[in-house]
Symmetry: C2
Subunit: 155 residues, 2 copies
């Protein structure tokens, strides 16, 4: 349902949201989110082009979120890199179905509409909720262990 | 969200459900559903292997649905050809997240769960509901015009 590219983009955005103190390099984000560096570089370019990230070259440079995690939704990230396309007209091109989709394509579009609604309602800030036992991304160990052998303790 | 393969499989199943009188050849189904014949042949093989279609060789042979449209769901068709996989464990492989997904992967899985629920509740018979203005597949013209220039009138 969600492409590899979208999943990687969401991981990167969540990681940046959870680590706002300074710009992070593509390599740092790739390691934390366990995404191949070359693949992630392209995903980060896509997010930057879509205006979701700021990037700065040079020493101390890297990527930061262009918007507050509280003002950015999962849906916007999905649509920025590998958009889910609602079914607006008959995929078979039947003119006669312009006014109304057939039940099959209506059902498929209803599924897409549910996903759009759920992901539009989910702010990135919700995904880094510190009260969640496994927050904010898989790269973190649960808080009980953080600081002992969690990735965070090494940074 | 739904792959090309899945969309084609659903078209084929809906077409067979709407035309139960006799077996249809791959070529007939490909034309009606506007799917490239070579591609559709593979999709039909997949559906047959999954036990959703019966196929019979020779004169008068072809494909028929193995089950009643009232006993077959959209979800079963999706899962037969290009399954949507629920997220059961951390995609980053973190042992510490075995017990509970992080909020990102939980949210993604919640989306998958919604689709599973909706498509599981949708029987193929619902997709060929004759009371629908554009039923049962895009290859049909609306009932008002059927019998004049609709595909059905040519068969």
């Amino acid at each position: 349902m969600i492409s590899q590219t979208t999943e990687y983009a969401l991981r990167a955005v969540v990681w940046l949201a959870a680590n706002p103190e300074k710009a992070l390099t593509a390599q740092q984000i790739a390691e934390a989110t366990r995404v191949p560096a070359g693949y992630l570089a392209k995903v980060l370019q896509g997010l930057s082009r879509a205006g979701l990230l700021h990037s700065q070259r040079g020493l101390g440079g890297g990527f930061t979120l262009a918007r507050s995690p509280a003002a950015l939704t999962m849906w916007e990230v999905v649509q920025a890199v590998d958009p889910l396309r609602r079914i607006k007209s008959c995929p078979l091109g039947f003119e006669a179905h312009r006014a109304e989709l057939c039940p099959l394509h209506q059902q498929l579009d209803d599924g897409l509409a549910m996903i759009e609604k759920a992901f539009s309602a989910c702010k990135i800030s919700k995904l880094i909720d510190p009260s969640h036992p496994s927050s904010p991304l898989c790269a973190y160990l649960p808080k009980a262990k953080a600081g002992t052998n969690g990735r965070r303790s090494k940074r």
